[in-house]
């Protein structure tokens, strides 16, 4: 009798803990198929053979061939061509959030819900899941994100007696003060919305103000590029640019990092993947001088951030082993092993990655660059404050080019910033309708 009750107790304990363990830790899928080799395109910094080997150890029947075919645009051109040609696309491919709808509408990505992708929804930050799915269909596994914070050069702020801005009004006041005190030699920030595809920087700030440009309802898109919120944010920056309080260097060009490094630009709107780039590209004299604080806020709304960049791993329709491809895409972004190693270089989209102790390791060169600050804590808070309600249009490549032209015209004062948005709204509507999209 005693033995029996012990047995009951132990079984119930095992079952109880087992269940609770299962609820906390969703088990990654098991692969029962035949041995396969899958191909993988990715430019993610930090991905290496170690990650691939670890995966092959966990799934001995799946071999992975990884290639870096170029980042962003360079990869998308190749993917687009391979998809159109009918062969040459990889099984798993890294795609940024904003480009997913383009490839989905193109018919190039596999809906992963049939492999049970929805079971793993709870592993990822909610807004990222919204970005990779349309209704019940799931087209990619979130990888890394770029929620916004504010990075500033403390030495310059101290020298000119600037207060760290908590609101956009304070930001504008600082911009004016710094411009006047330095006779225009030092500006508070660079307007990073210059150049092809950089509109996503400005769009991230509109996102942070509660705005969005597109909503998909059934198969009808509603486009609101010149909405009130959009105009408010764009004119805020436009005003600062027109007065000369902001520089307008093309991001990633040869002048961009030097301007910050030489103390000509005192701060930047900083997505979570940027600190590493700052530490790497700014001169040694900058080390320890920069700080990160939450993004300045608009009045009368709860703390909100936006997102710039970050990427996902998707499975293409050319994959002959979509299930194995899905398992790899999931493992690389949600397994503890991968998150502690590979994702450590990026700002992860999965909770496993965000909870990893290395996120708060302040001895890294990057944290030291920011004076030993626990910078990731600020980005974790920012990630939680990103609106889930935000979508990208499938004709984004057109927007990228067209917006670059309109912004360039607004900077050279050929048109006003409001006109730039109006023009973009109209030309984009025209283009999308010509392409056969249902837009209004």
């Amino acid at each position: 009798m005693k033995k029996f009750s012990m047995f009951i107790l132990i079984t119930s304990l095992v079952v109880f803990f087992g269940l609770s363990l299962y609820a906390d830790n969703v088990q990654l899928p098991v692969y029962n198929g035949s041995p396969v080799t899958i191909t993988f395109w990715s430019w993610a910094p930090g991905i290496d053979q170690w990650t691939i080997n670890a995966f092959e150890k966990a799934y001995p029947n799946i071999k992975v061939k990884w290639t870096d075919v170029g980042s962003g645009e360079a990869e998308y051109s190749k993917l687009l061509t391979a998809l159109s040609a009918g062969s040459g696309a990889p099984d798993v491919v890294q795609i940024e959030y904003q480009m997913l709808p383009t490839f989905i509408s193109y018919g190039g990505l596999v809906d992963l819900s049939k492999y049970g992708a929805n079971n793993y929804k709870s592993l990822f930050v909610p807004w990222t899941w919204k970005q990779v799915s349309q209704g019940n269909a799931v087209y990619a596994i979130p990888q890394d994100t770029g929620p916004y914070a504010f990075a500033y050069n403390k030495a310059i702020f101290d020298k000119y007696g600037l207060t760290v801005p908590k609101t956009w009004d304070e930001y504008a006041a600082d911009a004016q003060k710094l411009y006047e005190a330095s006779n225009g030699k030092v500006v508070l920030g660079n307007f990073d919305g210059v150049g092809v595809s950089q509109i996503s920087w400005l769009l991230g700030l509109i996102w942070a103000a509660g705005g969005h440009w597109w909503v998909l309802n059934g198969n009808t898109w509603t486009q609101t590029i010149n909405s009130t919120i959009s105009q408010k944010v764009t004119n805020f920056w436009g005003n600062l640019v027109n007065k000369g309080y902001m520089s307008t260097i093309t991001p990633w060009s040869a002048d961009w990092f030097p301007a910050m490094s030489n103390g000509k630009v005192a701060s930047m709107i900083c997505p979570a993947w940027m600190p590493g780039y700052l530490q790497e590209n700014l001169s040694k004299e900058n080390a320890g001088q920069w700080r990160i604080v939450p993004l300045p806020q608009w009045p009368n709304m709860p703390f909100t951030s936006g997102n710039w960049g970050g990427s996902t791993d998707a499975v293409t329709v050319q994959s002959k082993n979509p299930e194995a491809a899905f398992i790899f895409a999931l493992w690389i972004n949600a397994s503890e092993e991968s998150c502690n190693h590979f994702i450590g270089y990026l700002f992860p989209a999965s909770f496993v990655g965000l909870d990893s102790p290395r996120m708060h390791d302040t001895t890294t060169p990057v944290d030291q660059f920011f004076g030993g600050q626990d910078i990731n804590q600020i980005f974790i808070d920012a990630s939680k404050a990103v609106n889930t309600n935000f979508e990208w249009a499938p004709w984004l490549n057109y927007i990228y080019n067209e917006a670059a032209k309109d912004i360039s015209d607004a900077i050279s004062k050929k048109i006003s910033w409001t006109q730039a948005l109006d023009q973009l709204q109209n030309s984009s509507l025209n283009y999308a309708q010509n392409q056969g999209f249902n837009v209004k």
Binding site: G195, S253, A254, D255, N397, K405
Partner: protein, 290 residues
């Protein structure tokens, strides 16, 4: 007997076959395929729809495409005149036998052509950039602000400068070899008749150089309408309008927008326009010569 004749007829083709096979594989077939896909409309991986000349009609009403062709027409007129003019000056300069440094100058003028256009695009991009430019110190020495060579208004002229730098030496060599074919006796005869250096240039060298100038101009027409590398490379430094050159627009339409069919149609039109402009030029100059 019959077999022999047949063999004799086919022998030239056997010897030509390495060339012919490559020509068909890499020139004729892509052209035919390009024309074929230009007759369809397709979005993504959906089945293509036959639309006949639809893409061609669309191209002639597409403001982006028309702008790019007109911009390059303007580019040809301005850049072509500057470059051929300079090439002519340099060619006359190194053709002068009394010039002892001509060997050196021939090389110096020709060096830029030996640099790949992508590399010179990057090189000039760095020279135009505000923080890396060596002009920075030159301008500040005179007390002037460094102009923004890469701003949307100046970009056209900055690219003219790059292309001129790259191709003047090449055109100079064409003109120089033209000058070399002129019999020297003509100059001696002219000297004896009391002609000066400028008379010789005006009455002997220039008239006899016209075929070479025509050749250089045709190369320039083709080069202008096909401009791609320099603006493409400069995209990483500044905003370059996709409507700047037809090839840039075709590239973006195909590989960014994924509209390969429309891009093929525009490429066909571009080929025809380039061919037409070149042949009009040949016809017109042939009449002149007669």
């Amino acid at each position: 007997m019959k077999i022999k004749i047949r063999l004799r007829r086919s022998i030239p083709f056997v010897f030509l076959s390495p060339f012919l096979i490559l020509l068909v594989l890499f020139y004729v077939l892509p052209l035919v395929y390009g024309f074929y896909i230009s007759l369809f409309r397709q979005y993504g991986l959906r089945p293509p729809i036959f639309i006949g000349m639809g893409n061609y009609i669309k191209a002639f009403t597409d403001i982006g495409f028309l702008t790019s062709v007109l911009t390059m027409g303007k580019f040809f007129l301005i850049q072509g005149s500057i470059m051929i003019g300079l090439a002519l000056l340099f060619a006359l300069y190194i053709d002068n036998e009394k010039n002892h440094l001509r060997g050196l100058f021939r090389m110096v003028y020709y060096i830029p052509f030996a640099i790949p256009t992508v590399v010179s695009g990057i090189l000039w991009g760095f020279m135009y950039s505000k923080s890396l430019s060596p002009f920075q110190s030159i301008f500040s020495l005179v007390g002037l602000l460094h102009p923004d060579f890469l701003s949307s208004g100046n970009l056209f002229w900055s690219i003219i400068n790059i292309v001129t730098w790259e191709w003047t030496g090449y055109n100079m060599i064409i003109l120089y070899s033209g000058l070399q074919t002129i019999p020297r006796e003509l100059y001696e005869a002219a000297y004896i008749d009391g002609a000066g250096n400028f008379d010789i240039i005006k009455y002997i060298k220039l008239p006899l150089l016209i075929p070479s100038i025509i050749l250089a101009t045709i190369f320039t027409v083709i080069g202008s309408f096909q401009l791609f590398n320099e603006p493409f490379v400069l995209q990483s430094m500044t905003y370059v309008s996709p409507h700047l050159t037809p090839n840039l627009y075709i590239y973006i339409t195909a590989f960014n927008y994924g509209n390969f069919n429309f891009a093929a149609a525009m490429a066909m039109i571009l080929a025809i326009v380039t061919f037409a402009v070149s042949s009009i030029f040949i016809r017109y100059s042939a009449l002149e010569e007669e």
